[in-house]
Amino acid sequence: MGEILVLVDHVDGVVRKTTTELLTIARRLGEPSAVFIGDGIAQAREALQRYGAAKVYVLDAPELTDYLVVPKAEALAQLMERTSPTAVLVTSGSEGKEVAARLAVKTGSGLITDAVDVQAGDDGPVTRQSVFAGSYTVQANVTTGTPIITVKPNATTPEPAEGAAVEESVTVSLSDLATSAKIVDRQPRQATGRPELTEAAIVVSGGRGTGGNFESVEALADALGGAVGASRAAVDAGWYPHAHQVGQTGKTVSPQLYVAGGISGAIQHRAGMQTSKTIVAVNKDEEAPIFELVDFGVVGDVHSVLLAAAEQIRARHT
């Protein structure tokens, strides 16, 4: 079985759920090797082992994380040269996609981004992608070089399978170009105590119809243990931070349950949530296009309906 390189997505050693999904997918394709760049391997090791990493390559030089994208791409290229993997998997996100993009050019390999499913095929991995605002599903494969695939969060359910997780420290040599775009300041995103938007099983979002008050949206999100999202209109109005924007220019989410509160459902928003398994909407305008997508819709006031629902859910728990 060929080696599958999985770039670990982590914050100071806390492995993100997406990486456990990638390791699960990698096991369908071959033998997973985790590539850990930065500080915190001691903390990350257990999760990588539990989800089946046979090897863990550890790369820890300050230049790898103090400069944008390029050092990681160079490091992976050197690791590919050495290990000749049969595929490389990276989490879809702005950084992951850019690392994968440069890696593809460097190694003469085809690149597929934003896969929502990856399966083993006769001629290498076969991917599925959701395109044109989720209105089409495309099946694709890489025909040249080593398949480099970025995978969206929630593409699979992580399944534990103990791996050997044999650690190997790797030294890479970086070019002058690698240190040409310096990260001069880094402010970690403040923890909200809620699940991460793209990873959450449940997302409750608010839009223009909230009038700027997200209390009811947050209340239902908290009652359901979900993440909070926002439409572009709500973000542009300054009602909620951009990091929470769902849609074409924000995050794409594909949770088990998506609740749209006071969101009309313009194509740009649908592009970010249309593949959700179950969709609920509350909107006072019965003509709102969001109702074309819903499994359950309420024509009514977003605040009173969401607050009452949140209260009833909390009551059931006590």
Binding site: A73, G96, V105, S109, Q139, I183, A271, Q312, I313
Partner: protein, 258 residues
């Protein structure tokens, strides 16, 4: 200073977007527009020009219709256009696209090459990084705030886990998000003036790219098939008469979300 903005002509997101028999995106049989996210790139270029002295050239590749994306950019305020037009380009993937754009940028020269954060059709968001890789210059990408001081570019990047400040020196590739600025609308005067602005048309031979290195046959990825997403089955819609919250909770309980 020379600024080149790379823009893309894309099928209108509100039109019926579809595919051709060769599994490529239909770019001709559907209304096209300047990719909305590229308007922020054009605006970023104009703001740099207004803060100092710069010439703004807008670059696109694609069929005859793609010229409309150049024209729109000239109306917004760019000074000149370059259109790489060649039948052999049809079906290029991101690898082929970045090759054509990089070779053209080498020919035009640039201090800053600016892109939108992604196209609104393929929406991969990888071409700026590929351009920087091919050109061997710094990449400052997904900028939600940009400032220029001499030849230094400083940008805020709202990353997946942190907000970062990035600094690099020209020449470089910059990509901007829809948070970076508020694109202006062309005035009537600007629309009239755009007609007189120069647009150069180049073939692959002009930029030194072998036709065999781009296009569908040279793509390193292949779309095997596509299918329309099945229409969602019509759901239950209730009008709130005071009991809707309870019905909603029942629905959520039945779905095991509670």
């Amino acid at each position: 200073m020379k600024i080149v903005v790379c823009v893309k002509h894309v099928p209108d997101a509100t039109a019926n977007r579809s595919f051709l028999a060769d599994n490529t995106v239909d770019r001709v049989g559907v209304d096209g527009v300047l990719s909305e996210l590229d308007e922020y790139a054009v605006e970023a270029a104009l703001q740099i020009r207004e803060a100092g002295e710069a010439e703004v050239t807008v670059l696109t590749m694609g069929p005859e219709q793609a010229r409309a994306a150049i024209l729109k950019s000239l109306q917004i305020g760019a000074d000149a256009g370059v259109h790489v037009l060649d039948d052999a380009i049809h079906g290029s993937d991101s690898i082929g696209t970045s090759l054509v754009l990089a070779k053209t940028l080498e020919r035009t020269g640039f201090d800053v090459a600016i892109c939108g954060m992604a196209s609104t059709d393929g929406s991969m968001g990888v071409v700026p990084a590929m351009l920087a890789e091919r050109l061997g210059v710094p990449q400052v990408t997904f900028a939600s705030e940009v400032s220029v001081d001499g030849t230094t570019v400083r940008a805020r990047r709202d990353g997946d886990a942190a907000t970062e400040t990035i600094e690099a020196t020209m020449p470089l590739v910059l990509s901007v998000t829809d948070q970076a600025n508020e694109p202006r609308y062309p005035s009537f005067k600007a629309i009239m003036a755009a007609k007189k602005k120069p647009v150069e048309t180049l073939s692959l031979a002009d930029i030194g790219v072998d036709a065999g290195d781009v296009g569908l046959a040279a793509a390193w990825t292949q779309v095997e098939s596509y299918e329309a997403r099945p229409a969602r089955t019509a759901g239950t819609i209730v009008t709130d008469d005071g009991a809707a919250a309870e019905e909603l909770v029942e629905f959520l309980v039945a779905g095991k979300f509670v």
